[in-house]
Structure formats: C-alpha cells, structure tokens
C-alpha cells in the first residue's frame, strides 16, 4: 500500500476530486495548509504599509491506495492540478505499513 500526498492550489481541488473519481479512487483526506516553495509569497498593502506574506495557501490531499494504482493516481492528479504556473505543487509517494477499517476491523488492502 502506498500513500500519495499531493500539495495543490486550492482552486484546483474540485477538478482533482473529479479526475480521481473517474478512476474510481474511493476516498481521500483534504487539509488546508500553507507553505512556499519556488512560489515566493506576495505583498499586501494596508493603509500604506506593505506586508510581505511569505506563506501561500495550499490544499493537501492524502490518498492511501494499492501500490499497483499509484501511477494512475499520480497521473490523474498531475493532469487535473496543473496550471503551468509556479506554485502548482508537488506529489509525494510514501509507504504505508498497515491500514485498518474501524467499523469492520478489515486489514490490509481490503481496508484501503
């Protein structure tokens, strides 16, 4: 089992969710985060005083999936989240030791 963590631009969330739905990804967890990479922050102006806002708002999506489907999911996210401008985000793939469904107690790939 693998975990796919994708940091994307917040306004792309609906498109990404739709794209994942089309390849039958059953679930995901979404968090609102902030951070920066190459996309530096931006400036905001209040009564003539300029403030540098270093952190940019992003959305983090976490999906746990069978190892065989990782490539399809990564591809789907990339296609739907891309805007071709700096700040599109990144995808990380990590290993998952165990998955358990709380209601039934199922373990492993059945629980994903």
């Amino acid at each position: 089992m693998k975990k796919i963590t994708a940091i994307i631009k917040p306004h792309k969330l609906d498109e990404v969710r739709a794209a994942l739905s089309e390849i039958n990804v059953a679930g995901m967890t979404v968090t609102e985060v902030k951070g920066f990479g190459r996309q530096k922050g931006h400036l905001e102006l209040y009564r003539g005083a300029e403030y540098s806002i270093e952190f940019v708002l992003k959305t983090k999506i976490e999906i746990v999936i069978e190892a065989t489907r990782v490539d399809a999911v990564v591809e789907a996210i990339m296609q739907s989240a891309r805007t071709n401008k700096i700040g599109d985000g990144k995808i990380f793939v990590t290993n998952v030791e165990q998955t358990v469904r709380i209601r039934t107690g199922e373990e492993g790939v059945e629980a994903v």
Partner: protein
Amino acid sequence: MRYILTLLALMPGFAMAETLDTGDTAWILTSTALVLFMTLPGLCFFYAGLVRSKNVLSVLMQCFAIACIASIIWLIAGYSLAFGEGNAFIGDLSKAFLNGVGKETLSGTLPEPLFFTFQMTFAIITPALIVGGFAERMKFSSVLLFSSAWLVLVYLPVCHWVWGGGWLAEMGMLDFAGGTVVHITAGVAALVAALVIKNRNGYGTASMIPHNLTMTMGGAGMLWVGWFGFNGGSAVAANGDAAMAMLVTHISAATGALTWMFIEWFKYGKPSVLGIVTGMVAGLGTITPASGYVGPAAALVIGLLAGIVCFYCTNLIKQKWKIDDSLDVFPVHGVGGILGTFLAGIFCSTDLGIFSGYGFGGDNTSIGEQLQVQLIGIAATFVYTAVVSFVLLKLVGVLTKGLRVERDAEIQGLDITSHEERGYNL
C-alpha cells in the same frame, strides 16, 4: 444665574424663553443612543477588526471598560466640572452626583438629565478613541488608570473651554461637535502614547495585518450612522440646524471615503476596503467641528481635503517617521480635527457664494478674525493635551510598574495573557 432661571422657568405661568420642547427632547434622546452606539459597538468593532486575532478581545475589553468608567466619572464630577459655571478654565462641583438636578430640571429646552447623558456619550468615546494609539501592548491596569485620569485632566478642561462657557467659547471659537474637544485631544493623546510606550514588538518586520476587515467595515457603518447623532445631535434641537449638520456630515463622509479610495487606486493600483472606511472616518472627523456652521457644497470640499490630507499624514507617520500609532488615531482623528477646526473658520463665512456657511462665531466679523480664534483653539488644545498626556503616561507607568506588558505576553497575545480568554474557539 442659570440655576435661578431654571427655577423661574419651573414656576407655572411664568413666561420664559426656555421651556421643555418635546421635539428637541425626542431628538436628543435618540442622538444619545446613536452616539453611545458609536462606541458600543461601532468603535469596538472598527478597532477590533484591525488588530491581530490574538488581541481582538483586549481591544473590545478596553473600549467597553473605558465606556463604563467614563460614565461613572461623569456622574461623580465630570459633568459638573465640564459644564458647571466655574471659571474660564474649569467648571465647579456644584452638580457633582447631579446634585440639585431632577427630572424637571431644564437645560435649555431639554431635561438636564438628558443633556447630561448626551454629553456623557462624548466623554465616553473620546478616551476610547485613544486605545488605537497603544493597541496590542498596554497593560489593562495602565489603560484604565490612564484613561480615567486623562478624562478628568484633559477632556473635562478642554470641554469646558469650548462648550462649557470657557475661554475659547468666549472668543467665539467654532467647534460644533468636537473637532478640538474629541478629535484633537484623542488624536494627540494617541500620538503621545505611541511615542511613550514605543512601537509594537516586531513593528516593521512582522506581519500585523488586520485580522478581520469584515468586522472593521461593520464598525465603520455603525460609526457613520451614529455620527448623525454626534453632529446632528450637537444642535441640541430638532430643527434645521440639526438637519443641515446631519446633511453636511453625510456628504463629508461619502466624499472623504471616495477620495481616499481613489488616491489608493491611483497610487497603488487597487482600491481597498480599509482605505475606503478610513477615508470615511477622516471625512467624518474633519466635518465634526464645522458641521453646524457650513453648507453642503463646503462639505464636499471638506471631505475632499480630509481624504487627501489624512491620507498623506497617515503615510508620513507610519512610513516616514515609523511611529506606531497602531490604528492611526492621530493622522485621522487628530489631523482631521485640526483641519476641520481650521476649515470651519473659513466656510462659516456667508460670503462664499455656493460655498457659504451660516456666520462667524462670537464677535468675529471676518474669516481672518475667525481663523485666528480657530488657530488659538487648535494650538491650545494640542499643546495642553500633549503635555498633560505625557505627564499622565509617565505617572501611570510608575504606578503600574510599567505601561507595557512583558515582551513574552505581547508575543503570545493580550487576550490570553491579560484576560485568559480567546476571541475565537473555532
């Protein structure tokens, strides 16, 4: 003398100029509520939205508590010292605890208890305005002690000079609703406070953006509406004076708001919410001293100048001089009050065509003469306020072992460290 007149006026059948006027009374009853509304919660919200969320409660608490304390002080001795006969500089204690003033006692065409309460709402908002100068870093005990002492030693005398029959009134100085009494005093006090207590930790480098401009905008709306009572009610009558005062107040607010908005648009490329409401406050503060004396066309000019002058002063204080008058009390209220008091001396003239006003004050017969008086009033208020505020701040600092909270407390936020509460538990 006024006491005897009041007694005579109460005798049935005695023909006197002043008897209770129900129209006047009804309007001033309303105005009183409107002006209190400006503080609770108008100013509260306007200010609270501008600070960081960790300090939102501290601002609300300070404004609210000041409103309460000012009220008590007003009853104990404030009203009497401001409006009692006394001498040219201060009233007396004849009406301490409203001694001798009952339901039937009159002040002009109003019940005196009403005049008391109406004036009280001005005494409430003035010290509350100063909060903006020392926001996010002053000890609560210091705030209470300073605000109380300041009310007694600055507001009461200046109020007496201008509205209580004192020396500035004798000179025919024009200040309809508080350009000097409220805005210059509060503005100067805030500036002095900012200089004495010094800048907020991280000022200039850390992000200190307003945490809730929707709250600020809500407060701004309340201030605009409430100001109808502030200026309109200062006519102390339900008549054309009140109507015109309300009208020019409104025009100046709208003009000031748009002016600031357009300056920002041209200068920075985007018009902002903070800009438009600040311009509104500038317009309102500036028209305040002039509101009973100028005409509608003059209000356009006054609003326009307010927007321009206050905008550039805000930048001067913040950017150039780097003084942390956190919520810009001096450049908006202080400068606005100075500008408005000055312009009142010009636009009161009945010889300006469409820009004419309704006449000079006292024995003055020309713009030159009136301006001299206005300038004396501005200077006297400025200097007196600055000196006494400075002394009080130093004194209070000694009494409370430091005006400012500890550095760590300031970084953590006043809400949790001073009040053990959080504004938002989301």
